[in-house]
Amino acid sequence: MMLELASDQGATLEERDLNTSPLAVRGLTVSYGQKPAVFSVDMTVQPDAMTAIIGPNGAGKSTLLKAALGIVKPLSGQVSVFGYPLEDQRARIAYVPQRASVDWDFPTRVIDVVLMGLSRQLGLLGRVRARHKARAMDCLHRVGMRDFADRQIGQLSGGQQQRVFLARALAQDADLYLLDEPFAGVDAATEKAIISVLKSLKQSHKTVVVVHHDLATVTDYFDHVFLINTHKVAEGPVAEAFTAENLQNAYGGRLATAQIDQISHVSG
Protein backbone atom coordinates (compact mmCIF):
# COMPACT_ATOMS: atom_id res chain seq x y z
CA MET A 1 0.00 0.00 0.00
CA MET A 2 2.88 2.35 0.86
CA LEU A 3 4.50 1.42 -2.42
CA GLU A 4 1.42 2.50 -4.33
CA LEU A 5 1.67 5.89 -2.64
CA ALA A 6 5.25 6.20 -3.83
CA SER A 7 4.23 5.86 -7.45
CA ASP A 8 1.35 8.29 -7.01
CA GLN A 9 2.46 11.56 -8.57
CA GLY A 10 -0.19 13.57 -6.82
CA ALA A 11 1.01 12.58 -3.37
CA THR A 12 0.33 15.16 -0.69
CA LEU A 13 3.00 16.43 1.67
CA GLU A 14 1.96 13.97 4.35
CA GLU A 15 2.08 11.05 1.95
CA ARG A 16 5.59 12.00 0.87
CA ASP A 17 6.53 12.17 4.56
CA LEU A 18 5.33 8.61 4.91
CA ASN A 19 7.62 7.56 2.11
CA THR A 20 10.82 9.04 3.47
CA SER A 21 10.42 8.90 7.24
CA PRO A 22 12.49 6.24 9.04
CA LEU A 23 9.37 5.56 11.11
CA ALA A 24 5.88 6.78 10.30
CA VAL A 25 2.83 5.81 12.30
CA ARG A 26 -0.75 6.59 11.28
CA GLY A 27 -3.87 6.27 13.42
CA LEU A 28 -2.26 3.84 15.84
CA THR A 29 -4.56 2.63 18.61
CA VAL A 30 -3.49 0.03 21.18
CA SER A 31 -5.57 -1.26 24.03
CA TYR A 32 -4.87 -3.56 26.96
CA GLY A 33 -8.38 -4.57 28.00
CA GLN A 34 -11.06 -1.87 27.96
CA LYS A 35 -9.04 1.34 28.13
CA PRO A 36 -6.85 2.40 25.20
CA ALA A 37 -3.16 2.87 26.08
CA VAL A 38 -2.47 4.70 22.84
CA PHE A 39 -5.32 6.33 20.94
CA SER A 40 -5.22 7.25 17.26
CA VAL A 41 -1.64 8.48 17.26
CA ASP A 42 0.21 9.83 14.24
CA MET A 43 3.98 10.11 14.43
CA THR A 44 6.56 10.98 11.78
CA VAL A 45 10.14 10.50 12.90
CA GLN A 46 12.73 12.80 11.33
CA PRO A 47 15.79 11.14 9.74
CA ASP A 48 19.36 11.67 10.98
CA ALA A 49 18.10 13.08 14.26
CA MET A 50 17.47 12.13 17.87
CA THR A 51 13.86 12.14 18.96
CA ALA A 52 12.60 11.84 22.53
CA ILE A 53 9.18 10.33 23.25
CA ILE A 54 7.99 12.08 26.40
CA GLY A 55 4.93 11.81 28.59
CA PRO A 56 3.81 10.96 32.12
CA ASN A 57 3.84 7.42 33.54
CA GLY A 58 1.26 5.26 31.83
CA ALA A 59 0.96 7.68 28.91
CA GLY A 60 1.66 4.92 26.38
CA LYS A 61 5.27 5.82 25.50
CA SER A 62 6.59 2.26 25.58
CA THR A 63 3.37 0.91 24.12
CA LEU A 64 3.70 3.26 21.15
CA LEU A 65 7.22 1.98 20.54
CA LYS A 66 6.22 -1.67 20.96
CA ALA A 67 3.23 -1.33 18.65
CA ALA A 68 5.37 0.45 16.04
CA LEU A 69 7.74 -2.55 16.21
CA GLY A 70 4.99 -5.16 16.08
CA ILE A 71 5.76 -6.45 19.59
CA VAL A 72 2.21 -5.69 20.71
CA LYS A 73 -0.65 -5.91 18.27
CA PRO A 74 -2.45 -2.62 17.68
CA LEU A 75 -6.21 -2.45 17.33
CA SER A 76 -5.80 -0.24 14.30
CA GLY A 77 -3.25 1.88 12.50
CA GLN A 78 -0.42 1.65 10.01
CA VAL A 79 3.32 1.63 10.42
CA SER A 80 5.87 2.24 7.71
CA VAL A 81 9.64 2.09 8.05
CA PHE A 82 11.67 4.02 5.47
CA GLY A 83 8.51 3.98 3.38
CA TYR A 84 8.08 0.19 3.40
CA PRO A 85 6.05 -2.22 5.52
CA LEU A 86 7.72 -3.02 8.85
CA GLU A 87 8.27 -6.71 8.05
CA ASP A 88 10.44 -5.87 5.02
CA GLN A 89 12.64 -3.54 7.02
CA ARG A 90 13.43 -5.62 10.11
CA ALA A 91 17.13 -5.72 9.23
CA ARG A 92 17.32 -1.91 9.40
CA ILE A 93 15.86 -1.64 12.91
CA ALA A 94 17.63 -2.09 16.25
CA TYR A 95 15.64 -2.18 19.46
CA VAL A 96 16.75 -1.78 23.07
CA PRO A 97 13.97 -2.94 25.41
CA GLN A 98 13.58 -1.80 28.99
CA ARG A 99 16.28 -3.40 31.09
CA ALA A 100 13.73 -4.68 33.61
CA SER A 101 11.81 -6.55 30.91
CA VAL A 102 14.21 -9.51 30.91
CA ASP A 103 15.45 -11.94 33.55
CA TRP A 104 19.15 -11.19 34.02
CA ASP A 105 19.61 -14.52 35.76
CA PHE A 106 19.39 -16.15 32.31
CA PRO A 107 22.40 -18.46 31.86
CA THR A 108 24.42 -16.59 29.29
CA ARG A 109 27.51 -14.39 28.99
CA VAL A 110 27.84 -10.76 27.95
CA ILE A 111 29.37 -11.68 24.57
CA ASP A 112 26.51 -14.11 23.84
CA VAL A 113 23.94 -11.35 24.37
CA VAL A 114 25.79 -9.08 21.93
CA LEU A 115 26.01 -11.94 19.42
CA MET A 116 22.20 -12.15 19.52
CA GLY A 117 22.32 -8.87 17.58
CA LEU A 118 24.02 -10.76 14.75
CA SER A 119 21.53 -13.61 14.56
CA ARG A 120 19.85 -12.34 11.40
CA GLN A 121 23.22 -12.60 9.64
CA LEU A 122 24.00 -15.94 11.23
CA GLY A 123 20.69 -17.52 10.28
CA LEU A 124 19.39 -20.65 11.96
CA LEU A 125 22.43 -22.88 11.85
CA GLY A 126 25.27 -20.52 10.85
CA ARG A 127 28.38 -20.93 12.97
CA VAL A 128 29.68 -18.03 15.05
CA ARG A 129 33.07 -17.29 13.48
CA ALA A 130 36.01 -15.18 14.52
CA ARG A 131 34.78 -12.18 12.55
CA HIS A 132 31.40 -12.27 14.35
CA LYS A 133 33.17 -12.42 17.71
CA ALA A 134 35.45 -9.56 16.68
CA ARG A 135 32.44 -7.49 15.68
CA ALA A 136 30.70 -8.19 19.01
CA MET A 137 33.88 -7.25 20.91
CA ASP A 138 34.08 -4.01 18.92
CA CYS A 139 30.51 -3.14 19.90
CA LEU A 140 31.32 -3.88 23.56
CA HIS A 141 34.37 -1.64 23.23
CA ARG A 142 32.19 1.23 21.99
CA VAL A 143 30.11 1.10 25.18
CA GLY A 144 33.16 0.57 27.42
CA MET A 145 32.32 -3.06 28.29
CA ARG A 146 35.07 -4.93 26.45
CA ASP A 147 36.59 -6.31 29.66
CA PHE A 148 33.26 -7.85 30.71
CA ALA A 149 32.75 -10.08 27.65
CA ASP A 150 33.01 -13.39 29.54
CA ARG A 151 30.95 -12.36 32.58
CA GLN A 152 27.59 -13.90 33.30
CA ILE A 153 25.05 -11.15 32.66
CA GLY A 154 23.60 -11.39 36.17
CA GLN A 155 26.93 -10.26 37.62
CA LEU A 156 26.64 -6.82 36.01
CA SER A 157 25.33 -3.62 37.59
CA GLY A 158 22.17 -2.05 36.14
CA GLY A 159 24.19 0.48 34.14
CA GLN A 160 26.46 -2.24 32.76
CA GLN A 161 23.44 -4.32 31.73
CA GLN A 162 22.03 -1.31 29.89
CA ARG A 163 25.33 -0.83 28.05
CA VAL A 164 25.33 -4.50 27.01
CA PHE A 165 21.85 -4.01 25.56
CA LEU A 166 23.13 -1.00 23.63
CA ALA A 167 26.09 -3.03 22.36
CA ARG A 168 23.65 -5.68 21.09
CA ALA A 169 21.76 -2.96 19.20
CA LEU A 170 25.04 -1.67 17.73
CA ALA A 171 25.85 -5.19 16.53
CA GLN A 172 22.62 -5.10 14.50
CA ASP A 173 24.16 -2.29 12.43
CA ALA A 174 20.76 -0.72 11.82
CA ASP A 175 19.62 2.58 10.36
CA LEU A 176 16.89 3.17 12.93
CA TYR A 177 17.55 2.72 16.66
CA LEU A 178 14.63 2.55 19.08
CA LEU A 179 15.44 2.63 22.79
CA ASP A 180 12.98 2.21 25.65
CA GLU A 181 14.04 4.16 28.75
CA PRO A 182 17.80 3.56 28.32
CA PHE A 183 18.65 6.06 31.08
CA ALA A 184 16.29 4.63 33.70
CA GLY A 185 18.15 3.77 36.89
CA VAL A 186 21.68 3.94 35.43
CA ASP A 187 24.75 5.59 36.93
CA ALA A 188 26.13 8.89 35.63
CA ALA A 189 29.05 7.24 33.82
CA THR A 190 26.67 4.95 31.93
CA GLU A 191 24.37 7.82 31.01
CA LYS A 192 27.37 9.67 29.59
CA ALA A 193 28.58 6.60 27.69
CA ILE A 194 25.14 5.93 26.22
CA ILE A 195 24.48 9.50 25.09
CA SER A 196 27.93 9.69 23.50
CA VAL A 197 27.23 6.51 21.50
CA LEU A 198 23.80 7.80 20.45
CA LYS A 199 25.27 11.11 19.32
CA SER A 200 27.90 9.30 17.27
CA LEU A 201 25.10 7.28 15.65
CA LYS A 202 23.38 10.51 14.69
CA GLN A 203 26.62 11.79 13.18
CA SER A 204 26.81 8.71 10.98
CA HIS A 205 23.29 9.53 9.70
CA LYS A 206 21.37 7.06 11.79
CA THR A 207 17.97 7.85 13.29
CA VAL A 208 17.53 7.48 17.04
CA VAL A 209 14.22 7.40 18.93
CA VAL A 210 14.30 7.24 22.73
CA VAL A 211 11.50 6.83 25.25
CA HIS A 212 12.72 9.32 27.82
CA HIS A 213 11.55 10.36 31.27
CA ASP A 214 14.03 13.01 32.44
CA LEU A 215 12.67 16.37 31.27
CA ALA A 216 15.79 18.20 32.49
CA THR A 217 18.04 16.59 29.88
CA VAL A 218 15.72 16.80 26.86
CA THR A 219 17.20 20.00 25.43
CA ASP A 220 20.76 18.75 25.89
CA TYR A 221 20.24 15.35 24.32
CA PHE A 222 17.56 15.62 21.66
CA ASP A 223 16.68 17.44 18.44
CA HIS A 224 13.01 16.50 18.29
CA VAL A 225 10.35 15.66 20.84
CA PHE A 226 7.11 13.74 20.66
CA LEU A 227 4.77 14.43 23.58
CA ILE A 228 2.13 11.84 24.33
CA ASN A 229 -0.53 11.21 26.91
CA THR A 230 -2.53 8.39 25.30
CA HIS A 231 -3.26 10.95 22.56
CA LYS A 232 -0.53 12.80 20.75
CA VAL A 233 0.05 16.17 22.42
CA ALA A 234 2.78 17.71 20.28
CA GLU A 235 5.53 16.80 17.86
CA GLY A 236 8.40 18.83 16.43
CA PRO A 237 11.85 20.31 16.97
CA VAL A 238 12.72 20.77 20.65
CA ALA A 239 12.69 24.57 20.36
CA GLU A 240 9.13 24.55 18.99
CA ALA A 241 7.40 21.63 20.63
CA PHE A 242 9.10 21.35 24.04
CA THR A 243 7.16 24.26 25.53
CA ALA A 244 5.58 24.89 28.91
CA GLU A 245 2.13 24.84 27.34
CA ASN A 246 2.64 21.46 25.65
CA LEU A 247 4.15 19.96 28.80
CA GLN A 248 1.17 21.22 30.79
CA ASN A 249 -1.11 19.57 28.26
CA ALA A 250 0.79 16.29 28.41
CA TYR A 251 1.32 16.07 32.14
CA GLY A 252 -1.74 17.94 33.38
CA GLY A 253 -1.54 18.66 37.08
CA ARG A 254 1.16 16.07 37.52
CA LEU A 255 3.98 18.47 36.75
CA ALA A 256 4.67 21.30 39.19
CA THR A 257 4.45 24.75 37.65
CA ALA A 258 7.90 25.58 39.00
CA GLN A 259 9.33 22.61 37.11
CA ILE A 260 7.72 23.76 33.89
CA ASP A 261 9.06 27.28 34.37
CA GLN A 262 12.53 25.90 34.83
CA ILE A 263 12.28 23.80 31.67
CA SER A 264 10.87 26.59 29.56
CA HIS A 265 13.81 28.77 30.62
CA VAL A 266 16.25 26.09 29.56
CA SER A 267 14.56 25.53 26.22
CA GLY A 268 14.50 29.30 25.73
Binding site: P97, V102, D103, F106, L125, Q152, G154
Partner: protein
Protein backbone atom coordinates in the same frame (compact mmCIF):
# COMPACT_ATOMS: atom_id res chain seq x y z
CA UNK B 1 25.93 -59.54 35.71
CA UNK B 2 26.33 -61.49 32.51
CA UNK B 3 25.12 -60.31 29.13
CA UNK B 4 22.79 -63.26 28.94
CA UNK B 5 20.88 -61.92 31.91
CA UNK B 6 21.44 -58.18 31.49
CA UNK B 7 20.50 -57.80 27.82
CA UNK B 8 17.03 -59.42 27.89
CA UNK B 9 15.98 -58.17 31.33
CA UNK B 10 17.64 -54.83 32.01
CA UNK B 11 19.02 -53.31 28.81
CA UNK B 12 15.73 -52.30 27.20
CA UNK B 13 14.09 -50.84 30.34
CA UNK B 14 17.26 -48.86 31.03
CA UNK B 15 17.42 -47.53 27.47
CA UNK B 16 13.72 -46.67 27.42
CA UNK B 17 13.98 -44.95 30.80
CA UNK B 18 17.07 -43.01 29.69
CA UNK B 19 15.58 -41.94 26.35
CA UNK B 20 12.34 -40.88 28.02
CA UNK B 21 14.24 -38.91 30.65
CA UNK B 22 16.36 -37.08 28.07
CA UNK B 23 13.41 -36.43 25.75
CA UNK B 24 11.61 -34.68 28.61
CA UNK B 25 14.67 -32.94 30.09
CA UNK B 26 15.69 -31.26 26.81
CA UNK B 27 12.55 -29.13 26.30
CA UNK B 28 12.40 -28.87 30.09
CA UNK B 29 15.47 -26.59 30.00
CA UNK B 30 13.53 -23.97 28.07
CA UNK B 31 10.32 -24.48 30.03
CA UNK B 32 12.15 -23.94 33.33
CA UNK B 33 13.88 -20.78 32.05
CA UNK B 34 10.56 -19.48 30.70
CA UNK B 35 8.99 -20.09 34.12
CA UNK B 36 6.61 -22.54 32.45
CA UNK B 37 8.00 -25.62 34.14
CA UNK B 38 4.61 -26.73 35.39
CA UNK B 39 3.35 -26.95 31.83
CA UNK B 40 4.86 -30.46 31.80
CA UNK B 41 2.78 -31.22 34.85
CA UNK B 42 -0.27 -29.73 33.17
CA UNK B 43 0.31 -31.71 29.96
CA UNK B 44 0.57 -35.03 31.76
CA UNK B 45 -2.63 -34.27 33.68
CA UNK B 46 -4.61 -33.19 30.67
CA UNK B 47 -3.63 -35.97 28.29
CA UNK B 48 -4.62 -38.85 30.58
CA UNK B 49 -8.35 -38.87 29.75
CA UNK B 50 -7.46 -38.49 26.05
CA UNK B 51 -5.22 -41.54 26.18
CA UNK B 52 -7.84 -43.57 28.07
CA UNK B 53 -10.60 -42.62 25.62
CA UNK B 54 -8.31 -43.43 22.68
CA UNK B 55 -7.68 -46.85 24.20
CA UNK B 56 -11.36 -47.49 24.85
CA UNK B 57 -12.19 -46.65 21.24
CA UNK B 58 -9.40 -48.61 19.56
CA UNK B 59 -8.62 -51.30 22.11
CA UNK B 60 -4.86 -50.96 21.68
CA UNK B 61 -2.07 -48.83 23.08
CA UNK B 62 -0.34 -47.90 19.85
CA UNK B 63 1.30 -44.63 19.01
CA UNK B 64 -1.13 -42.82 16.72
CA UNK B 65 -4.42 -43.35 18.57
CA UNK B 66 -2.69 -42.29 21.79
CA UNK B 67 -1.15 -39.18 20.23
CA UNK B 68 -4.49 -38.23 18.66
CA UNK B 69 -6.32 -38.84 21.94
CA UNK B 70 -3.77 -36.74 23.78
CA UNK B 71 -4.02 -33.95 21.21
CA UNK B 72 -7.82 -34.04 21.41
CA UNK B 73 -7.64 -33.78 25.19
CA UNK B 74 -5.25 -30.85 24.95
CA UNK B 75 -7.62 -29.00 22.60
CA UNK B 76 -10.54 -29.76 24.90
CA UNK B 77 -8.48 -28.40 27.81
CA UNK B 78 -7.79 -25.13 25.99
CA UNK B 79 -11.49 -24.71 25.18
CA UNK B 80 -12.49 -25.52 28.77
CA UNK B 81 -9.92 -23.12 30.23
CA UNK B 82 -11.21 -20.35 28.00
CA UNK B 83 -14.82 -21.18 28.89
CA UNK B 84 -14.13 -21.24 32.65
CA UNK B 85 -12.16 -18.02 32.39
CA UNK B 86 -14.87 -16.16 30.49
CA UNK B 87 -17.97 -17.57 32.19
CA UNK B 88 -16.46 -17.44 35.66
CA UNK B 89 -14.60 -14.18 34.98
CA UNK B 90 -11.55 -15.45 36.82
CA UNK B 91 -7.89 -15.26 35.92
CA UNK B 92 -6.31 -17.74 33.50
CA UNK B 93 -4.10 -19.41 36.14
CA UNK B 94 -7.08 -20.34 38.31
CA UNK B 95 -9.00 -21.60 35.27
CA UNK B 96 -6.06 -23.81 34.30
CA UNK B 97 -5.81 -25.23 37.81
CA UNK B 98 -9.47 -26.19 37.77
CA UNK B 99 -9.36 -27.74 34.29
CA UNK B 100 -6.11 -29.70 34.72
CA UNK B 101 -7.11 -31.35 37.97
CA UNK B 102 -10.63 -32.06 36.68
CA UNK B 103 -9.34 -33.71 33.53
CA UNK B 104 -6.81 -35.81 35.42
CA UNK B 105 -9.49 -36.89 37.87
CA UNK B 106 -11.76 -37.69 34.92
CA UNK B 107 -9.00 -39.82 33.40
CA UNK B 108 -8.48 -41.73 36.66
CA UNK B 109 -12.23 -42.23 37.02
CA UNK B 110 -12.47 -43.58 33.47
CA UNK B 111 -9.61 -45.97 34.14
CA UNK B 112 -11.25 -47.27 37.31
CA UNK B 113 -14.70 -47.67 35.76
CA UNK B 114 -13.70 -49.44 32.57
CA UNK B 115 -12.02 -52.73 31.84
CA UNK B 116 -8.44 -52.05 30.88
CA UNK B 117 -7.06 -55.11 32.57
CA UNK B 118 -5.88 -56.66 29.31
CA UNK B 119 -3.21 -54.02 28.87
CA UNK B 120 -0.94 -51.98 31.08
CA UNK B 121 -3.38 -49.18 31.50
CA UNK B 122 -4.64 -48.60 35.01
CA UNK B 123 -4.10 -45.99 37.67
CA UNK B 124 -0.86 -47.47 38.89
CA UNK B 125 0.59 -47.66 35.40
CA UNK B 126 -0.62 -44.17 34.58
CA UNK B 127 1.47 -42.90 37.48
CA UNK B 128 4.42 -45.29 37.53
CA UNK B 129 4.45 -46.73 34.02
CA UNK B 130 5.53 -50.29 33.38
CA UNK B 131 9.24 -49.91 32.85
CA UNK B 132 10.13 -53.24 34.50
CA UNK B 133 7.94 -55.19 32.10
CA UNK B 134 9.50 -53.76 28.93
CA UNK B 135 11.86 -56.68 28.65
CA UNK B 136 13.41 -58.17 25.53
CA UNK B 137 12.81 -61.90 25.81
CA UNK B 138 14.10 -62.64 22.31
CA UNK B 139 17.57 -61.62 23.35
CA UNK B 140 20.07 -64.11 24.63
CA UNK B 141 23.08 -61.85 25.13
CA UNK B 142 25.03 -58.95 23.61
CA UNK B 143 25.17 -60.80 20.27
CA UNK B 144 21.40 -60.34 19.92
CA UNK B 145 22.00 -56.64 19.21
CA UNK B 146 23.20 -57.77 15.77
CA UNK B 147 20.60 -60.47 15.30
CA UNK B 148 17.69 -59.31 13.10
CA UNK B 149 15.39 -62.03 14.40
CA UNK B 150 15.96 -61.02 18.02
CA UNK B 151 15.78 -57.31 17.17
CA UNK B 152 12.31 -57.85 15.72
CA UNK B 153 11.18 -58.81 19.21
CA UNK B 154 12.24 -55.53 20.80
CA UNK B 155 9.47 -53.95 22.89
CA UNK B 156 7.75 -51.39 20.58
CA UNK B 157 8.18 -48.69 23.24
CA UNK B 158 11.93 -48.59 22.54
CA UNK B 159 11.83 -47.48 18.88
CA UNK B 160 8.89 -45.22 19.70
CA UNK B 161 10.74 -43.29 22.40
CA UNK B 162 13.97 -43.34 20.36
CA UNK B 163 12.21 -41.67 17.40
CA UNK B 164 10.64 -39.16 19.78
CA UNK B 165 14.04 -38.35 21.26
CA UNK B 166 15.53 -37.81 17.80
CA UNK B 167 12.63 -35.50 16.90
CA UNK B 168 13.10 -33.51 20.13
CA UNK B 169 16.86 -33.20 19.48
CA UNK B 170 16.24 -32.03 15.91
CA UNK B 171 13.71 -29.44 17.05
CA UNK B 172 16.12 -27.96 19.60
CA UNK B 173 19.14 -28.14 17.29
CA UNK B 174 17.47 -26.43 14.33
CA UNK B 175 15.62 -23.79 16.36
CA UNK B 176 18.36 -23.30 18.97
CA UNK B 177 19.08 -19.66 18.20
CA UNK B 178 15.44 -18.42 18.06
CA UNK B 179 14.59 -20.50 21.15
CA UNK B 180 17.46 -19.01 23.12
CA UNK B 181 16.81 -15.41 22.04
CA UNK B 182 13.07 -15.54 22.60
CA UNK B 183 13.47 -17.25 25.98
CA UNK B 184 15.85 -14.50 27.13
CA UNK B 185 14.19 -11.46 25.55
CA UNK B 186 10.85 -11.97 23.82
CA UNK B 187 10.38 -8.33 22.78
CA UNK B 188 13.78 -8.21 21.11
CA UNK B 189 13.09 -11.56 19.44
CA UNK B 190 9.90 -10.12 17.91
CA UNK B 191 11.83 -7.18 16.45
CA UNK B 192 14.26 -9.65 14.87
CA UNK B 193 11.31 -11.14 13.00
CA UNK B 194 11.13 -14.28 15.16
CA UNK B 195 7.54 -15.47 15.47
CA UNK B 196 7.62 -15.90 19.22
CA UNK B 197 4.01 -17.00 19.59
CA UNK B 198 4.39 -19.84 17.08
CA UNK B 199 7.76 -20.81 18.58
CA UNK B 200 6.30 -20.92 22.07
CA UNK B 201 3.48 -23.14 20.84
CA UNK B 202 5.96 -25.39 19.01
CA UNK B 203 7.95 -25.80 22.23
CA UNK B 204 4.84 -26.78 24.18
CA UNK B 205 3.81 -29.23 21.44
CA UNK B 206 7.31 -30.76 21.46
CA UNK B 207 7.10 -31.12 25.23
CA UNK B 208 3.63 -32.66 24.87
CA UNK B 209 4.84 -35.20 22.28
CA UNK B 210 7.74 -36.14 24.57
CA UNK B 211 5.35 -36.39 27.51
CA UNK B 212 2.89 -38.66 25.71
CA UNK B 213 5.62 -40.92 24.30
CA UNK B 214 7.30 -41.16 27.69
CA UNK B 215 4.00 -41.53 29.54
CA UNK B 216 3.28 -44.81 27.82
CA UNK B 217 6.54 -46.38 29.00
CA UNK B 218 7.35 -44.71 32.26
CA UNK B 219 4.19 -43.04 33.57
CA UNK B 220 3.45 -39.47 34.49
CA UNK B 221 5.63 -39.29 37.64
CA UNK B 222 8.82 -39.52 35.59
CA UNK B 223 7.47 -37.14 32.99
CA UNK B 224 6.79 -34.45 35.58
CA UNK B 225 10.10 -35.04 37.38
CA UNK B 226 12.18 -35.07 34.17
CA UNK B 227 10.74 -31.82 32.83
CA UNK B 228 11.90 -30.02 35.95
CA UNK B 229 14.59 -31.78 38.00
CA UNK B 230 17.49 -32.31 35.51
CA UNK B 231 17.20 -28.80 33.96
CA UNK B 232 16.81 -27.08 37.33
CA UNK B 233 19.79 -29.01 38.74
CA UNK B 234 21.80 -28.27 35.59
CA UNK B 235 21.08 -24.53 35.90
CA UNK B 236 22.92 -24.56 39.24
CA UNK B 237 26.02 -26.17 37.69
CA UNK B 238 26.72 -23.51 35.04
CA UNK B 239 25.99 -20.01 33.83
CA UNK B 240 25.86 -20.95 30.16
CA UNK B 241 22.79 -22.36 28.45
CA UNK B 242 24.87 -24.54 26.09
CA UNK B 243 26.59 -26.18 29.08
CA UNK B 244 23.34 -26.38 31.01
CA UNK B 245 21.80 -28.54 28.27
CA UNK B 246 24.76 -30.93 28.58
CA UNK B 247 24.42 -31.18 32.35
CA UNK B 248 20.67 -31.78 32.07
CA UNK B 249 21.24 -34.71 29.69
CA UNK B 250 23.85 -36.10 32.08
CA UNK B 251 21.53 -35.75 35.09
CA UNK B 252 18.61 -37.30 33.19
CA UNK B 253 20.78 -40.27 32.17
CA UNK B 254 22.17 -40.64 35.67
CA UNK B 255 18.67 -40.57 37.21
CA UNK B 256 17.34 -43.16 34.76
CA UNK B 257 20.18 -45.66 35.14
CA UNK B 258 20.89 -45.19 38.83
CA UNK B 259 17.16 -45.12 39.58
CA UNK B 260 16.58 -48.35 37.68
CA UNK B 261 19.47 -50.14 39.39
CA UNK B 262 18.52 -48.89 42.86
CA UNK B 263 14.89 -49.90 42.33
CA UNK B 264 15.90 -53.40 41.30
CA UNK B 265 18.71 -54.06 43.78
CA UNK B 266 18.45 -51.37 46.48
CA UNK B 267 15.84 -53.18 48.57
CA UNK B 268 17.83 -56.45 48.30
CA UNK B 269 20.93 -54.69 49.57
CA UNK B 270 18.87 -53.43 52.50
CA UNK B 271 17.65 -56.95 53.20
CA UNK B 272 14.13 -56.57 51.79
CA UNK B 273 12.77 -59.14 49.39
CA UNK B 274 11.01 -57.11 46.69
CA UNK B 275 12.10 -54.53 44.19
CA UNK B 276 10.43 -51.10 44.22
CA UNK B 277 8.99 -49.15 41.31
CA UNK B 278 11.71 -48.11 38.87
CA UNK B 279 9.83 -44.99 37.80
CA UNK B 280 9.38 -43.90 41.38
CA UNK B 281 13.07 -44.49 42.12
CA UNK B 282 14.17 -42.64 38.96
CA UNK B 283 12.08 -39.65 40.02
CA UNK B 284 13.54 -39.91 43.51
CA UNK B 285 17.12 -39.94 42.21
CA UNK B 286 16.40 -36.89 40.05
CA UNK B 287 14.92 -35.13 43.07
CA UNK B 288 17.96 -35.97 45.20
CA UNK B 289 20.24 -34.72 42.39
CA UNK B 290 18.34 -31.44 42.37
CA UNK B 291 18.62 -31.15 46.15
CA UNK B 292 22.38 -31.81 46.06
CA UNK B 293 22.88 -29.22 43.30
CA UNK B 294 20.75 -26.71 45.20
CA UNK B 295 23.08 -27.06 48.18
CA UNK B 296 26.44 -27.58 46.47
CA UNK B 297 26.09 -26.38 42.86
CA UNK B 298 28.64 -23.70 41.92
CA UNK B 299 26.06 -21.39 40.30
CA UNK B 300 23.15 -21.71 42.69
CA UNK B 301 23.01 -18.05 43.69
CA UNK B 302 20.57 -15.87 41.81
CA UNK B 303 23.02 -13.09 41.07
CA UNK B 304 20.56 -11.39 38.73
CA UNK B 305 18.03 -10.93 41.50
CA UNK B 306 20.35 -8.66 43.47
CA UNK B 307 21.35 -6.24 40.74
CA UNK B 308 18.02 -5.87 39.02
CA UNK B 309 16.25 -4.94 42.25
Amino acid sequence: MSGAEFVPLSLTPMLIGTFAAIACALPGNFLVLRKQALIGDAISHVVLPGIVVAFLLTGTISTWPMMLGAAGAAILAVVMIEAVRRLGQIEAGAAMGVVFTTMFAGGVLLLEQTDTSTVHLDVEHALYGNLESLIWLDASGWASLLDPVALAGLPPELPRIAVTLIAVCLFIWVLWRPLKISTFDEGFARTMGIRTGALSLALVITAAVAAVAAFDAVGSIIVIAMFICPPAAARMMTNRLEVQIGWSVLFATLSAILGYVLAGYGPLWLGAADAVSAAGMIATVSGVTLAVCAVLGPCRHRVGAQTSA
